[in-house]
């Protein structure tokens, strides 16, 4: 199969899987529903059915899809940014930083809500952005900026944030359930306002990433070579770091830390359709969304009580990842 055909198959399968995932999500839940009920709802509006299908299930499916897409896009950007396929939102400290904010809000008992976010979500978002800004400032040495320094500073700051999070949880052992929500992720609390809060930012991030995709292709072969080819490297890097951070912080603030998506999905997609970044950004977004949609389905159906989604993403993602790696050798 040549590269063009393989890509067409990739897109066709992915779109079909995404649509199938949405349909399955709509039909799955504690209340028994059939496809017929869904068709009835489309024919004639019914308040109870609408509440089940649209407010409970569709909002959750859309949020899971958006968060998966955002995390995967963030990972794809950071892997290109660091020229390292092992990079993900954890390496710049944004995920751990955001979780720290959420858990701090939890243990301080902060309760308010704004812009569709809970107080904890807002704290998560702010501390995720804050920690990356701090990491960035610490990596500036004499006005000069090195990607390697950023990477190491990010990992260190992330570890520190994780330690503080663990400490806060240890001191407040009564809030265990909520802590699990932030540390392993869940869409149990999904609602339309959260979708509204995430969607425009994701759209903006995807637009910027696709707009600068050619620049990212050049960066993959070295900053100097990129500049020699005409790329405004410093500006492009700032935009990409900002977008990747925003997407990851936003994701954590609505659904907690969901690991593995940002690392593995862009990697899969690159193996399947190649490293060209315009295709990769679009493909990783769609694949990440679809992946998380199915993971969420598993999380809520596998056991009588709901599993944290982070458990599923790792358990499903890791073996598939290993398979793909070995298939290529």
């Amino acid at each position: 199969m040549n590269a063009g055909n393989q890509r067409r198959v990739f897109w066709a399968v992915l779109v079909a899987m995404a649509l199938g995932g949405f349909l399955l999500s709509l039909l799955t839940g504690p209340v028994k529903t059939t496809f017929g009920d869904l068709v009835d709802l489309i024919r004639q509006y019914d308040r109870v059915q609408a509440a089940i299908f649209l407010d409970l299930r569709l909002s959750r499916a859309v949020l899971a899809f958006l968060v998966g897409a955002a995390l995967s896009l963030s990972g794809a950007i950071l892997q290109g940014y660091f020229r390292n396929p092992m990079a993900d939102p954890f390496v710049v400290g944004v995920s751990s930083g955001a979780a720290l904010g959420a858990v701090a809000a939890l243990s301080l008992g902060i309760r308010f809500a704004a812009f569709g976010f809970s107080g904890q979500g807002l704290m998560a978002f702010a501390s995720g952005l804050g920690i990356v800004s701090l990491v960035y400032l610490l990596s500036l040495r004499r006005g000069d900026f090195r990607v390697e320094t950023l990477l190491l500073t990010g990992i260190a700051a992330g570890a520190l944030a994780s330690a503080l999070t663990s400490f806060l949880l240890f001191m407040r052992s009564d809030s265990f359930d909520q802590a699990v929500f932030w540390l392993l992720g869940s869409f149990q609390l999904a609602e339309w306002p959260q979708v509204g809060a995430v969607a425009p930012w994701f759209a903006l991030g995807l637009l910027l990433a696709v707009w600068l995709a050619r620049d990212m292709n050049l960066l993959a072969l070295g900053d100097e070579a990129a500049r020699a080819l005409g790329c405004p490297v410093a500006t492009v890097r700032k935009v990409f770091l900002g977008v990747a951070t925003l997407l990851a912080a936003l994701s954590v603030s609505v659904s907690g830390i969901i690991g593995f998506v940002g690392l593995v999905v862009p990697h899969w997609v690159r193996l399947l359709i190649g490293p060209e970044h315009r295709r990769l950004f679009a493909g990783a977004s769609l694949a990440g969304g679809t992946f998380l949609l199915y993971c969420d389905l598993l999380a809520r159906t596998l056991l009588p009580s709901e599993l944290p989604i982070g458990v599923i993403t790792a358990a499903v993602g890791a073996p598939f990842f290993l398979y793909l790696l070995h298939r290529k050798r």
Binding site: W211, R214, A220, A225, A228, L229, C231
Partner: protein, 261 residues
């Protein structure tokens, strides 16, 4: 074409090259020679305006490159860096297409002109046959040719290369320099290479520039500059010089110390 005036340039810890002057005429082939650390690569990078710590001027057709945008410079000078390790496995064709960056709008689709330039560049470098192959599947020589093709698709009058023969087997070294020579003659490219192999540079260049500790130690045609005295002064090596049997261009050979007695 390209004029370097009193250029001093280097990195955080100070200048590596000092007060270098160099003029690259249209259609001329010049090689910068010198031992490791003498500043060959630094000179090439500084000529491209890639170093922040630089003093002096680089002029392109009379205009200072420092005052030009990166895109504008990229339409005049193409650069072939030392072979990078590809982290992400682009295909040869995708790499060559990157040369078109400075002539594309950010959201433009690949135009017929871009495709044509890529095809021409790959034909000239004999890489068209593996356009869709991944870079990791290519040999060092093939990979080097792909990066030269990328520089050609940039469609610039000036070509700068940083040690194009490094890490290549001798058959590939000959191949790459043969290709560069053909580009100089057929396409009237002005070519500046940093090179460590004296014989390779002497056989293909119109002029040589010897750098020692970042300063010009000798400059002139291969016949004028490839002398035992110059090589001793620049490299600290005792060599025998003889004329190439076919071309008459001087060549060095490293005589074993024993045989010198």
């Amino acid at each position: 074409m390209l004029k370097i005036e009193d250029l001093s340039a280097g990195y955080e810890n100070g200048f590596v090259v000092r007060n270098v002057r160099l003029k690259l005429e249209p259609g001329e082939f010049v090689a910068v020679l010198g031992p490791n650390g003498s500043g060959k690569s630094t000179l090439i990078r500084a000529a491209l305006g890639l170093l922040r710590n630089a003093r002096g001027a680089v002029l392109l057709g009379g205009r200072e490159t420092a005052a030009m945008g990166r895109r504008e410079v990229a339409r005049e000078i193409a650069y072939v860096p030392q072979l990078p390790d590809p982290v992400f496995d682009f295909s040869a064709g995708e790499i060559v297409l990157m040369g078109r960056y400075a002539r594309q709008g950010r959201l433009d689709a690949v135009t017929a002109g871009d495709a044509e330039a890529v095809r021409e560049a790959m034909k000239a470098t004999d890489t068209l046959a593996f356009k869709d192959r991944k870079l990791s599947r290519l040999s060092g020589g093939e990979r080097q040719r792909v990066f030269i093709a990328r520089a050609l698709s940039q469609d610039t009058p000036v070509l700068l290369l940083d040690e194009p023969s490094l890490h290549l087997d001798i058959n590939y070294q000959a191949e790459i320099y043969g290709l560069l020579k053909a580009l100089q003659i057929r396409e009237k490219k002005s070519i500046l290479v940093a090179e460590h192999n004296i014989n390779l540079a002497a056989a293909h260049s119109d002029r040589l520039l010897f750098l020692k500790d970042g300063a010009i130690a000798a400059e002139g045609t291969p016949r004028e500059t490839v002398t035992a005295a110059n090589i001793r002064a620049v490299f600290g090596a005792d060599v025998d010089i003889r004329a190439n049997t076919r071309t008459g261009v001087p060549e060095i050979s490293l005589a074993a110390a024993e045989s010198r007695r």
